[in-house]
């Protein structure tokens, strides 16, 4: 198997479902080697959206972290700049579904950082759906369908870092077994 570029799986924790109204409060990513799909590098940070204590508190509850950790976290501009700098743009982005991709693009826009990745993005849901169909799963799958199917465990559903590692593992298993 040979992918042309390394794959950058990313996952987000957000304050809601609407990329225009809601904000990214955690951005996690892992870089997979194009030849063997092993993890080469990773990125994980919480994002402070506001200086208001009440809002920091509300977001800390979503993330299940303490107030001070989030208060000391960087703002979206710094996070996106760092994310872009760390991995460059010669990678193939990958994530579970369309909504996450919209959130990432909107975050780049909010941070006034040029989004200059290739417009192709691997969407895990599509691959997972076809794969599990071949093995008789007939319902419309969700992320949890894939986690269960591959006998993986999600301990912290609120944690984007754990989720992105699970996505990468699901991807490896599909590719290995396909």
């Amino acid at each position: 198997m040979k992918f042309i570029k390394d794959l950058l799986f990313f996952e987000l924790q957000t304050t809601g479902q609407d990329p225009d109204k809601d904000s990214v409060i955690q951005l996690s990513a892992i870089l997979l080697d194009k030849d063997n799909l092993l993890e080469k590098d990773n990125f994980n940070t919480y994002i402070k959206i506001s200086y208001l204590d009440a809002i920091i508190n509300e977001h800390a509850k979503i993330l299940r972290i303490d107030f001070d950790t989030l208060r000391k976290s960087p703002k979206i501009y710094d996070v996106i700049k760092l994310f872009r700098k760390k991995f460059g743009n010669n990678v193939l982005l990958a994530t579970h579904g369309f909504q996450h991709f919209l959130f990432l693009k909107t975050a780049f826009k909010k941070a006034a950082v040029t989004y200059d990745y290739d417009h192709h993005v691997i969407q895990l849901w599509t691959l997972g759906y076809v794969y599990t169909l071949n093995y008789g799963i007939k319902k419309m799958p969700t992320f949890h369908t894939f986690v269960d199917y591959f006998k993986l465990k999600q301990h912290e559903p609120w944690n984007a870092m754990e989720k992105v590692r699970l996505e990468a593992e699901i991807f490896r298993k599909i590719i290995k077994e396909a």
């Binding site: 579904g97 369309f98 192709h120 969407q123 599909i174």
Partner: protein
């Protein structure tokens, strides 16, 4: 192959990439049977543009849509209403590298005042084709990646088509459907 729902493969043509400035110029779709992937129903319509003067020259060079083709086409609202009624919502939407198609379509629904009632998941054909070719060791150079458009797929999967009609949205849908059938057969 037995999908839970029929697959609605959609392709659009637009006059540029900016939702605020550019127009959706064509919507085409083919409904594929969930068991056989055979074509069950088809939709294709051009749309009368609202801001033709803002069209992007590069986009227009790809879609090759002239003003004569769209000047008497139905309005965006009419097209979206008809499209929405044609297939209902109990389908899996599918696109080929669908980010722009999907956001233009969602924006068009909003502009037309029609409620978006589709499942938020959509099937991205590229996400299937790319790993498939990687697994077969058929991605040999960076050129393969950069050129991974429909022309590449037509050549790779030996699909017969009049290349003059490529990038008409309905023709593109049918090419994508044929590649999907071939890939799924091999998986």
């Amino acid at each position: 192959m037995n999908f839970k729902k029929d697959i609605l493969l959609i392709d659009t043509e637009f006059s540029g990439f900016d939702l605020q400035k550019h127009d959706l110029l064509q919507i085409a779709a083919v409904l594929l049977d969930k068991k056989t992937l055979k074509e069950k129903e088809v939709f294709s319509s051009f749309i009368k543009p609202g801001s033709w003067q803002h069209r992007n020259r590069e986009s227009m060079a790809v879609n090759k849509i002239s003003f004569d083709v769209v000047k008497n086409a139905p309005s965006l609202k009419q097209v979206i209403k008809t499209f929405d009624k044609t297939f209902g919502h109990n389908v899996i939407q599918a696109f080929y590298v669908g980010y722009n198609d999907k956001r233009f379509l969602m924006h068009a629904y909003k502009k037309a005042g029609v409620k978006w009632q589709f499942n938020y998941h959509y099937f991205d054909l590229w996400s299937l084709f790319y790993p498939h070719l990687a697994l077969k060791n058929q991605l040999r150079s960076k050129k393969d990646f950069a050129g991974f458009g429909l022309e590449y797929l037509i050549k790779k999967f030996k699909i017969k088509i009049d290349k003059n009609n490529l990038h008409d949205a309905l023709v593109d849908c049918r090419v994508e459907a044929e590649v999907l059938r071939k890939v799924l057969k091999k998986m």
